[in-house]
Amino acid sequence: MQRIGVFVCHCGTNIAATVDVKAVAEALGHEAGVVISQDYQYMCSESGQDLVKNAIKEHNLTGVVVCSCSPRMHENTFRKAAASAGLNPYLVEIANIREQCSWIHKDIASATDKAIVLGKAAVAKVHLNAPLTAGESPVVKRALVIGGGIAGIQTALDIAEAGFEVDIVEKEPTIGGKMAQIDKTFPTLDCAACILTPKMVEAAQNEKITIHSFSEVADVKGFVGNFTVTIKKKARFVDETKCTGCGLCTEKCPMKKVPNEFNMGLDNRTAVYIPFAQAVPKVATIDPNYCLMLKNGKCGVCSKVCTAGAIDYKQTDKMIEQKYGAIVVATGFNPIKPDKYDEFAYSYCPDVVTSLELERLMNAAGPNGGTLLRPSDKTHPHTIVFVQCVGSRCDDEKGKPYCSKICCMYTAKHAMLIREKYPDTEVYVFYIDVRTPGKNFDEFYRRAVEQYNVHYIKGMVGKVTPKADGKIDVQASDLLANEQLHINADMVVLATAIEPDKTARPLATMLTTQMDTNDFFTEAHPKLRPVESATAGIFLSGACQGPKDIPETVAQASAAAAKAIGLLCKNSITCNPCVAHSDELMCNGCSACEKVCPYGAITYQDKEFRMPDRSTAIRRVASVNPAVCQGCGACTVACPSGAMDLNGFSNSQIMAEVDAICK
């Protein structure tokens, strides 16, 4: 038999002025199971709490109902009080008779009636409350950062700074990401390599940071605080521990006609290569698609010249398994390939380049040693046309529906740098809108127009036609002058949209995190939790969450690190006990609940059951991981057999409340 205590608060006059608290206490005292019903001036005060505690002990209560203010205000106070008196804190229910009763009603009679009904509903609910224990799960004090661009590096450095072990998994042979390919950064025009490479070295030298370059995440198991991740270290055919990065092998390699990815394929590298001079780790990698030894078994030059004996043609992919408490996703972005846009002639005219290609063309470490030359005939271009929004803000399957955010600024930067270095060059920028929100951004863009005399034209390029004389005819509209222009250009630069890395989608599946239709990771809350994914323990850093420039990426990377550190600092995590659970005897393994779960908390197990005829049968049943479940209850409604229920808000409890209100 339940022994329930009801405590009605006056809240000074806040409640007592419109609700007859004595009558409420009196009425609720007659409810079934209620053994004590009291009212008091201030229930939340020390003495009010003592009243509750004493009653619990004295009457050996099995449930407590407090009729007071909103549970959002004092539910925790009374739960703690109950716990200190030896009653399970989840056996306390609050009837909200202040915010949702006394403060909104003026008529004492009706407000009192309502307060009684709310109290009755709470009593009906508490009858069915079960004692719940918040589970604890330990936290592994190690973080994994997926992606070694500026976002991943910054996150790893910050986590390491706090004293935790961090592993960076990078799929390329070196960390550094897109920022390493960039020449100058806006709006300060400082050199990207000069600010990035010290950070790369810092990451490599930090004893808390382990860099797994040329590696990929192969599998993720577990949940917040306790992930088990399998990392695939791809065979690079060079022993990382022995290679000194002297580069002799890359000089001697006879296979010199491999398109150089780092320079966007604008020049060639050798089959054994180090992506760029400041690569971290500075270790050679053999490209098995081009290496003559690996393809035909005939060559072996690199192995002969390597004094460290680091070349190992027999190396294979290696799997490492490691446990982590937190995972930070920093998979970054790629510019799209504009070859679907026939009108821009990108696929057949070498002088039509993307902005990242221009970045390499202008870089001192790039294919032309920093002199801007046309890729086709290596001559100096005199007229350059920039086209904005190529693939961005597109409503068709060729492009992306969003604004890529960084293009307006980097185009202003390119235009400015070109005008500065080559004042004899005319630069045209065709724009739809110039978007420059950001510190010193608009000033930067205006400087390009006013100081450097870059021709900004509102309109879009409709057709790019390479001509026989090597020039390019650019047909465009000038909307403000209402005319169609033809520009005789030497080079065309396309500001292509950026898209999340291709590895992001399979990774999201492994991590059970959510993605939007554009494959950007979805944050837990767009305003208030921008660096956490909805899946506990998975954090988002950089452009994998949405287009971002470098300062924003670094800010978000540090924020993600702070969140990860907050998690790693804990020895164990207290789980919310109000989670879903499945009645295995009723579950028919239909998977309806798994499909609606936003957290991937539900898995299926084959379990052996004893049947009524004493035989055994193996059935597939759902099981909820309480550490991952956040308690939304979507599965409880999706479940066709009624096997799924939610602790603290069970079907029977809510039904009881409904009944009490309707009675």
Partner: protein
């Protein structure tokens, strides 16, 4: 149809803990009045509300049921209110089939900042249900209070 001036409908409101319940609290904090017919049940998310609960309320004699959740896109659990929206659409077609007036059931998005909206919605809803009169069709007479 005759409107009974003295008819006081029983209204059950399901409010999600993160947005609408906080919105209801806010309308209380701002002392915005709405009729005392409305009794609120707190649920973690609007998607916790099984359409069965709504039918149960009608069976037990409720005259109107209103379900409030976070605005689409703002769900604390990311996607819960989208499930709610679909489920309620299905429930509507069933209620239509049963001949239960549309206005007795309502789905509203109320954020934690929309105390005024909460009060306005409740005022409107109670008025609408009053116009409809008591719920006779789904009420289980065995459950009727004496």
């Amino acid at each position: 149809m005759q409107v009974n001036e003295n008819f006081e409908p029983v209204i059950v409101a399901f409010c999600c803990n993160w947005c609408s319940y906080a919105g209801a609290d806010l309308s209380g904090t701002n002392r915005l009045n709405y009729p005392s017919n409305v009794k609120i049940i707190r649920v973690p998310c609007s998607c916790r509300v099984n359409p069965m609960f709504i039918l149960r309320a009608f069976q037990k004699g409720a005259d109107g049921v209103i379900l409030c959740g976070c605005h689409p896109g703002d769900c604390h659990y990311t996607s819960g209110n989208y499930f709610t929206r679909r489920r309620i659409t299905l429930l509507y077609s069933m209620l239509d089939f049963l001949g239960i007036e549309r206005n007795r059931t309502r789905l509203e998005w109320v954020s934690a900042a929309e105390g005024a909206k909460f009060a306005a919605v409740m005022n409107q809803f109670v008025e609408d249900v009053k116009k409809l009169g008591p719920n006779r069709r789904l009420e289980d007479l065995r459950c009727r209070k004496q």
